[in-house]
């Protein structure tokens, strides 16, 4: 059986997806918002989200110890994003 691709836009670029990035603590303050919607190429890995953040964050290196959650579950930087995903950038925690 031969698969037929169903991408709506045929061309050189993969289709784009929209994801919501959740930001907390100093990231939220630096971005000026706790949620940022980003348009990204389909299957962008979670770990590449940082470089798409609003200034000044995108110009910084990702902080040491940064972890990721995808749709409120821990995930790894290589996880591919899909349209409508919610990705959270989780800095080293300090609760308690």
């Amino acid at each position: 059986m031969i698969e037929s691709r169903s991408w709506p836009n045929i061309g050189l670029m993969p289709p784009s997806i929209t994801v919501t990035v959740r930001l907390f603590a100093s990231l939220r303050e630096a971005a000026g918002a706790g949620e940022v919607d980003l348009e990204l190429p389909a299957a962008t890995p979670v770990g590449a989200v940082w470089s798409h953040l609003p200034a000044p964050l995108a110009g910084e290196d990702p902080p040491e110890g940064l972890r990721y959650a995808l749709n409120a579950t821990w995930t790894l930087p290589g996880a591919p994003l899909r349209d409508g995903d919610e990705v959270a950038l989780v800095l080293p925690v300090s609760g308690g």
Partner: protein, 152 residues
Amino acid sequence: MIALTADPIALDPLVEAVSDPEHGGLVTFLGTTRRETTLRPVEALVYEAYEELALAELRAIAAEAEARFDARVAIVHRTGRVAVGEPSVAVAASAGHRPAAFAACRHAIDELKRRAPIWKQDVHADGATSWQDGRGVVRPSPDPEHAHEPVR
């Protein structure tokens, strides 16, 4: 009982939540930020949580402690502004005997501090604020809306 709350934490509801006629030991932990966490006096804390994941993580931590120590565990963490000297977190754990109750309570608070996506902002007496999130950003007082400068 696993909760995030903007209100002061009362210990009794946690104690009641884990009480069990077959459990002989009940241990609680209250965590309170001390007046001096840095060289600059801290006047208050502001806690921010990634609420969905924090609740899931606290539930997972409690379930682990319950399974490992045959215990019942309750966890409540404050969000928002907390005055210095007020508890920011409470854990209660009961078990058949006291070693397991101590171990379950200790496990829960240790894992919470390590894993729960909750951040603390120090609010200094001079109005400056700094999130304890590894980025080392201090926002000086008085509130310049967008300023942030790395320290060290």
